[in-house]
Symmetry: C2
DNA sequence: TGGATTTGGTAAATCGTATTACCAATAGGA
DNA sequence: TCCTATTGGTAATACGATTTACCAAATCCA
């Protein structure tokens, strides 16, 4: 394993020269031949600087931690993809955490955050698991970026065009002629849930019946239960806006179980796209969110020295309506 | 930011004592009150050791790099989940790489691998992108674990029960009475492709017609093209074994385009499960692979000091047949 | 020839932790 | 009283890169 000192010895110079050549120090005055000799040794000894030493010296790790609520969630994979992309561009590495399986205070990730091993923390998750991480981050003054989740800590918040997306979905159904439209929302109290509710209400105008709103977690099974209940209580609904596509798959199951044809008897539209949305039993109409852009923005915010200080970023890339086969004009029962 | 030296000063001892208390050095003889005093200062100053310094000193990072071919691939997410789980148990952090968007020689990940910032490298991907990483790993004598991909380098190889899975899928179709069974295989030359072919051939016995085998990449669109071609050439096929579930979704599209009812005219079975396999237009019968176990094994191998030296691990957890609705006894055309 | 610049570097001090080797003071034993 | 253990620590160094301050030798200009 080569060290700076060894390279220096081989090239017949001091370690300082090697370091300054590597880091392109413009204040270094050096003879052309010396530089070439040093560069040659670096090349053919295949030298790479020790990152721990660099990190110790510079108090920077060029690494950012990204913690998800559930890595395997098909919707959020795209955020990670965007983050990865931007990290590559900014020459940062990504330390991955999954709040579902780890991240508690004893975890290596927590140690790294608390021990200066990370330049920033991006959280898509919230809960007791991640609280430990936030505490660590605060101690080291590591900037924190929250995705979609307002918390009472000093952190930068990144939001999606949630109200727009919900409005867009609702408008699509209204445009088709639907009036009695239910809402399968995400968990109450969450930042994005409230924003989407706002968009939905706005678009519904006077037609809103609070009893036609229900909430569920982001799993298909949860969506199924909630939708089953809602559709049983309100057989007159001809449209359903789902705030989460995975939950919407559950809603599709519920509709089927209740013998309601989609889109014949019931139109279903959801926020977020799914990889196989087009291959579902009923190809699902969705409003696609700029998730990759959100991932990119999160890394950008961490890397921009002032970025994490500003309070909020709202992604402005507009959501995209992808019409498939789960929505249609209301039929005989509409 | 607290350092060892500061803690030591506050507690009125030398840094050595603090370090040895933290690391539970049993050779340290210390008065009970002194220890308690030190521990108290550590606690209420909320001290956490600097990881870069530790890493520099110990030449260990407690970090493992995991590089995927495509993070967003719904099939392989489960591997990551398993790896994450085991990493948590072993107190390792995971540095994530995606060969699709980065990982080239200039990337921070490559720098970290080459600079001793990583204790091991797990590769699910192969190709020019990852070659740079392998070179870096070799230089630092970082152990490499390959998932499913035999390469001509010094590395530990982890394999799934590929032959068994293919045999199981084929046997399911034969058990239903199918005889003319096609095979939509993965790309030729790959380790797991060959193993699955072996399992398929074995189970097919004499019934195998080489012209009924085709290959495709792991994307739905690729599977669709290949399957469309195969099914057009061989309209007599009543069964299709797909080596990859994502490609199988494409095959389902192709069957539909050709007007072939699944499972009425054609039974389709695939290797790997999909999150929404049960919600597809035709719920897909699959052979589920122990992917999480593979992820766990990869971390275990890295962490076990002798692990990466042994040449190969074959995961023995048996694949699991999940019968849904894409397979049935051959109909009128069978 | 002498003073000022420029050229081409180097020495040394961090960064924070871990560990080995050592040692003063007290206690114990005869 | 003197010698040996034991107790309870400490001093010093290495890990590898970076950077600031400094400086000898060569060159230039008059």
């Amino acid at each position: 394993m080569a060290t700076l000192a060894e390279i220096a010895k081989r090239a017949g110079v001091s370690p300082a020269v090697v370091s300054r050549v590597l880091n392109k120090d413009t204040t270094l005055r050096i003879a052309k031949e010396t530089r070439e000799r040093v560069e040659a040794v670096i090349r053919d000894t295949n030298y790479a600087p020790n990152v721990a030493a660099q990190s110790l010296r510079s108090a920077k790790s060029e690494t950012v931690a990204v913690v998800f609520h559930d890595i395997a969630n098909p919707v959020y994979g795209e955020i990670l993809r965007g983050a990865q992309e931007e990290a590559e561009r900014q020459k940062k590495a990504i330390l991955l955490g999954d709040a579902a399986v780890g991240g508690a205070s004893g975890s290596r990730l927590a140690q790294m955050i608390g021990g200066g091993g990370v330049d920033g923390l991006i959280l898509q998750a919230s809960g007791t698991r991640t609280d430990a991480l936030i505490v660590q981050a605060a101690r080291q003054e590591v900037p924190v970026v929250l995705l979609q989740t307002r918390l009472d800590i000093e952190a930068h918040l990144i939001l999606l065009p949630d109200a727009e997306a919900a409005a867009m979905a609702t408008a699509h159904l209204k445009g088709l002629g639907h009036r009695r439209i239910g809402c399968l929302a995400t968990e109450p109290g969450l930042t994005f849930t409230e924003d989407r509710m706002k968009g939905w209400r706005q678009e519904m105008g006077g037609d809103v019946d609070e009893d036609c709103v229900t909430h569920s977690g982001p799993a298909a099974a949860e969506g199924e239960v909630a939708a089953h209940d809602l559709l049983s209580r309100h057989p007159d609904l001809t449209g359903l806006v789902c705030f989460n596509a995975v939950a919407a798959v559950g809603a599709l199951r519920a509709a089927r179980a209740l013998g309601r044809d989609v889109p014949g008897d019931l139109s279903v539209i959801a926020i977020h796209d799914l990889k196989f949305a087009a291959d579902l039993q009923v190809p699902l109409t969705v409003v696609r969110m700029p998730l990759a852009e959100m991932g990119r923005a999160s890394i950008r915010t961490i890397c921009d020295p002032n970025g994490a200080r500003a309070p909020t970023t709202r992604i402005t890339t507009p959501p995209e309506l992808l019409i498939r086969e789960s929505t249609a004009p209301p039929g005989r029962s509409g």
